[in-house]
Every structure is written in C-alpha cells, then in structure tokens.
C-alpha cells in the first residue's frame, strides 16, 4: 500500500504538531499548512528528522481567503488523493476584550469558526468525487453551551459543530468520514496563561485524536471524561446554570 496522504491545517498548533509526530512513526505523505511559512517549515524539518521515510511538505495560505483555500485543496488533491485532512487552527481570544472591541470578536469568530469550516468544505469538494477520506475538525467543549467567560470562542466552536453535523448527514451513506474532535482544556501555548491544573497534555490529546480518526468516531471528546462533564453542563437547568461562575 502506498503512503497515506495526510493534510494538516494549522500545523504549527501544539495539538496538530503532536498528531503529526504520531503519524510519522509510520511512513506517510504529510502536508503541513499554516499562515507563516517559516514556522510551518520548522515543524516540517522536525518531522523529516523523525521520519526520513516520510514525505513532508510545507505550505503557507491565507486562512480567510476562499479562493486561495479552494486552489490549495484542488492542487493537493490533484497531486494525490487525500486520505485524511485535520483542521486544527484557532486561538483563544480574551472574552472581555472581545466584549469591549467587536473587531476582536469578529477576528475570533473568523479564525475559530468561519475559517475551519471553509477548509472543511473545500476539502469535501475534493473528496466527494473520490468517494472516500476523513475530514477531522478540532472543535471544543466550549462549543457545547455558551458561558459568560468565553462565549465568543464558544460560539465559533458551536458554528463548527453545527457545520460538521451537516456534513456528517450529507456523507452518511458514503465512505467519507467527518470527525469532530472536542478537546477539553489542553496544555498548549494557547492556554499557557491559564492555571494548568487538570489540563491534558497535547501528546495525550493527539493520540486520542488519531484513534478517533482511525475509528471514524463522529464526535470525540478528549479526554473522554469531558463527554460526561459536558452532558451535565448542557442539561443543567438555566436557573442553576446562571448561578455558576464558569
């Protein structure tokens, strides 16, 4: 069998980078995409050292330009059919600043919500004619219910969830899997300013993500305990929920 082709969007994110390290333990054809070629190339160099038998390429793209996204997806799919695309980019905005400055709110909604689903749609276009492949998108437990401490981020991730749900419905009778990953708080540079207690490591989250992708799990909470925690939070009556300082 030939080397599977894996595309990672937001390849410099800590979780994506750990996923890539796990994937290159086997010989794979991995394509890294980010906003800054210097930083993506650094990740690529690391993966090449780890896995001389893999093919590793790095690309830069504008995360908000639909034409560039479509062109890139087309180009990559024409080179070789894509087996897996992992859409991992995003950043954690400051909720308070977003409330005071809606320009920041817009930016946060775009990078965490709009941009990921544009990538998902662009790669779906390429996978549909081939009829197989996996599209995995990193959402967040924050998308499960709006909370005063981070609803801008939560709303963007909620958008991702609804969009992915629709794609799952669309591809339900095909060999195209659409996987939504919902990590809980993970120790990454994105969360470095928060207390680290109870956070999962990026390595541990990455290995669960890869397991979910391999199994084609439609919605995967990582670590799994978050499925239970968020079920409780989603179902809390409003009167109680509103008393919580979360």
């Amino acid at each position: 069998m030939s080397r599977p082709r894996i595309v990672i969007i937001g390849a410099t994110s800590a979780i994506a980078e750990q996923c890539a390290r796990l994937w290159v333990r086997a010989a794979v054809d991995i394509v890294l995409i980010g906003r800054d070629l210097v930083r993506v190339s650094r990740v690529a160099a690391d993966l090449r050292v780890r896995s001389p038998h893999s093919s590793v390429t790095a690309h830069e793209v504008n995360f908000f330009n639909p034409a560039s996204i479509t062109t890139l997806a087309q180009k990559l799919a024409v080179e070789k059919a894509i087996d897996i695309v992992l859409i991992a980019h995003g950043n954690l905005p400051d909720q308070k600043e977003c409330e005071q400055d809606i320009t920041q709110a817009r930016e946060a909604l775009e990078v965490n919500g709009v941009s990921p689903v544009l990538f998902a749609e662009a790669f779906a276009q390429q996978m549909e004619p081939v009829g197989r492949g996996t599209i995995a998108v990193i959402g967040s437990v924050a998308g499960d219910r709006g909370r005063k401490t981070n609803y801008v981020y939560g709303a963007a991730k909620g958008l991702v969830e609804r969009y992915v749900q629709g794609m799952q419905h669309r591809f339900a009778h095909s060999k195209i899997n659409v996987v939504l990953i919902k990590p809980g708080p993970t120790a990454t540079p994105m969360t470095a300013h928060l207390p680290q207690r109870g956070m999962a490591s990026a390595e541990a989250v990455a290995s669960r993500i890869i397991a979910a992708i391999d199994a084609g799990t439609p919605v995967a909470y990582v670590p799994a305990k978050w499925a239970i925690i968020m079920m409780v939070i989603r179902h809390l009556p409003r009167a109680i929920f509103n008393k919580l300082n979360i």
């Binding site: 800590a14 210097v38 930083r39 650094r42 990740v43 160099a45 690391d46 050292v49 780890r50 540079p189 470095a192 207390p195 680290q196």
Partner: protein
C-alpha cells in the same frame, strides 16, 4: 502564578510560568520579561531551577529536531528536546548520546546548564564535551551562536542557566552497535576494594558505577561495569513503568526500612555476575518508577553529591561514610564512582578528577542540616566541591572554594537572569 517545586520537593514556590515554543522569538520574550530563569523538566534537586516570585521560562515547548546527519552523527535540535527523545530517535540509526545522567527525562539545555556527567566520565568526560555549538538568547534581546573556543561557551556549560537561555544545540553523538550493554556486577567489602576495582576497570570498561551501602561505614557495595555490545537481539524491552501514586505522610525511607533494605540488596546482588542489559535498565533504573521522589514524604529530601580529589579520596570518602553510618540516616540510593583524569569545559562544571559520592537524605529538618554541615567540613578539608544541580543549602564559602573560576564566570552572567540559587550563593 503557579506553584513549582524541584525534584527534591523541599517546597512549593509560586512562579509566573511563561512557555517558550518559538525559538526565534525567545530573545524578545526574555527582553520583555527581563527578569527570569529557564526551567526545563525540573529534575535538578534543589534551587538551581527555581526563581520564587519571578518568571520561569519553560523550555519544554522548544522540542523540535532541526537536522540529523546519519553519517557523521551530528544532531541539531532545540534546547527543550528530552534526552529520551534523542535516544529513541537515534538508536535505531546506530547513534546514541555520548553522555547520559541517571535520568533521561531532562532537556538538552538543562544537561548543558548543569554540565551533567554519566557512568562513562573516564572515557567521555561530561555533556559539554560533546556540544559542538549552541545558540544563546539573552535578556538584552540578542541571539548568538557559540562554539567551544568562545569564552561564553565555557561560561554557559555548567553555567546554571545564568548566562542566557539556550535555544538551539548541535551535539556530536556516539556510534553504538545497539541498545544493549554487557554488564558485570562485583561486590566489594570496603573502599580499598572499590578503588582497586575502579582503577582496574577504567581501561577496558566504558561505564563504571557502584552502589554503596551508606550504613556500612566501611563502604561495602556493588560495583557495576559495562560495555556496549552487539547482542543480536532487537526485541524491545518491556516499557512497563510503575508510579508512586501519592505522597506518603512520612518518608518511607527511614531508620527501620533502610538497614534491612541495604543488607538485602547487598546479599542479593553480590552473587550476580554477568548479564546483558538494555541501556535504559542500566543507565536509568529509576525512570521506570514515575515520581519516585514522593517516597520521601511531604517534607522532601536533600541529595548530597560531592567530588573529592583522588589524593585524599579514599580517606575522605571513608570519613563521610562513617559519619553517615553513625547518624543512621541516609538512603538506599547511594552512588560512588570515580571520575577520569580530565578537566571539564565549563567554568562552573562539577566533574573534576577524583571520586564522587551521591546520596539522598530524607528531610528531617535541623538534624539533617547538621549532618550535611558535618559532611561539608570533610569536603572542605579535602578541597572537594558540591554539585549545584543537587544542592539546596551549601554554604557560600564552600561554593567559592569549590569553584575557583567563579569570578571569571560572573563577568559572563546575564544581568536579567537570577535564580534562588544565584541569590543564595552569588548575592544576586
């Protein structure tokens, strides 16, 4: 603020932890924070890695490889890469780190800053002897490369993190036939026998180390020596590890447990001879017991590691062991080893020709500190030195007499970097 402790668990101290992950922006981050200290895996025992109330720059996010030349064994990587990851990457390609300490859960940057040594010091020197170059970020915003001929190189190797933050390192690895070692185990009944074994093994054995029964007074122990071999087996060693699940309310190493344990270990091991061991078993036996430092209970422990010049090595070691035996305290973990006749590269490097003794002491407050002061007196008289990577309490005069090149070192310090240890031993 986040509570951080070092490996000795002597206390928890609040720090502002800033995670580094982009090696090119490190110098800017340092300049912004201005006062801080690099922190890797926190495997040093005392206060060399702590900066209570201040900033720690956590380097474990700088964990990328940059290039590896399989023909020459030259590896370029970021400074937060773990020694374990280098071994796992390079061993299948026939290369290994030339020098490894007792744990592989340390960063390359930490290994340089403490100029760590291993069981092959007589053959390979210390970690700094295998560094071809590194890049150093300083709080003035500069990012510079240094090679062994540069003064800043000698200041940074063993420099306790006080000259800057290392971002990139080029290492020369060593060719090996595989992960296996042919190990011989020999009992010794006293220090005369120990030194005979050590001296007669130096020429033909790459690695030598010994476990010493710290309560025996005479210095009985088990001597181990090993060479790399092509064992022709390639099955992976079972990677099972256990974890000390919680901090027991009192130290599990105490006057009731220690003597029987040491006796049992000595008698069990003395009849062993030759075996073939995986490098992880031989070099890093404790790495399989996760969080083993918890066994000393909530008050933590001190590790005491000294090196004594060879001319008085035997007598001074004997005096130390007798003093410890009289106290009845100490630990099962006691190591005695000779260093080779070679000076280290760093201005503050620990390793020097002589014999080194390392032991743990559960922290029992004043009695423990009194005992350690008594040991200091022996080390001072022998013109020996203590290992800063292990230290939490050495007196300033012992530091100054042990490290005669300190003045020269101070001219290379980064004025925006400070640690609990530097404030304790260097005044700022």
């Amino acid at each position: 603020m986040v509570a951080v402790s070092s490996w000795g668990r002597l206390g928890q101290f609040e720090h502002q932890v800033h995670r580094l992950s982009d090696r090119l922006s490190v110098a800017n981050q340092l300049q912004r924070d201005r006062y801080g200290l690099a922190f890797g895996m926190g495997r040093s025992y005392g206060d060399v890695c702590l900066n209570p109330g201040g900033v720690l720059w956590k380097t474990t996010g700088l964990d990328r490889f940059i290039s590896f030349d399989e023909n020459s064994g030259k590896l370029l990587c970021e400074a937060g890469v773990l020694l374990r990851d280098i071994q796992r990457l390079c061993l299948p390609r026939g290369w290994m780190l030339a020098v490894v300490p007792g744990t592989q859960y340390v960063t390359v940057g930490g290994a340089i800053a403490n100029d760590i040594h291993g069981k092959n010091h007589h053959k390979a020197g210390s970690f700094g002897d295998h560094v071809l170059q590194f890049t150093l970020a300083r709080t003035d915003g500069s990012l510079m490369q240094y090679r062994p001929a540069d003064a800043m190189f000698a200041a940074t190797v063993g420099g306790l993190g006080l000259t800057g933050v290392i971002t990139e390192v080029e290492l020369q690895l060593q060719r090996v036939p595989g992960p296996w070692l042919a190990v011989e185990t020999l009992a010794y009944r006293n220090l005369t026998e120990f030194f005979d074994l050590a001296d007669s093994s130096e020429a033909d054995w790459e690695h030598t180390v010994s476990w010493v029964d710290c309560l025996s007074g005479e210095g009985r122990g088990i001597f181990m020596r090993a060479n790399s071999v092509d064992a022709g087996k390639d099955q992976p060693r079972s990677g099972r590890s256990i974890k000390v699940p919680f901090v027991p309310p009192v130290s599990l190493v105490n006057q009731w447990s220690l003597r029987p344990f040491n006796s049992l270990y000595f008698h069990q091991k003395k009849s062993q001879r030759a075996s073939v061991q995986h490098y992880e078993t031989f070099f890093h036996p404790l790495d399989n017991v996760l969080e083993w430092n918890r066994i000393y209970g909530p008050r933590g422990f001190f590790q005491y590691q000294c090196v004594l010049p060879r001319s008085v090595g035997k007598e001074a070691t004997q005096a130390i062991l007798r003093r410890i035996a009289r106290s009845g305290t100490g630990s099962f973990l006691a190591v005695l080893k000779t260093f080779g006749e070679r000076e280290s590269k760093g201005l503050l490097s620990f390793a020097m020709p002589g014999v080194t003794l390392a032991l743990d002491f559960p922290n029992q407050g004043a009695p423990t500190l009194q005992l350690l002061s008594a040991l200091d007196a022996i080390v001072r008289e022998a013109k020996g030195r203590l290992y800063p990577a292990k230290d939490a309490r050495m007196p300033v005069d012992l530091f100054e007499s042990g490290y005669p090149r300190l003045k020269e070192f101070l001219t290379h310090r980064d004025s925006g970097i400070s640690s609990a240890m530097s404030r304790r031993l260097m005044g700022n």
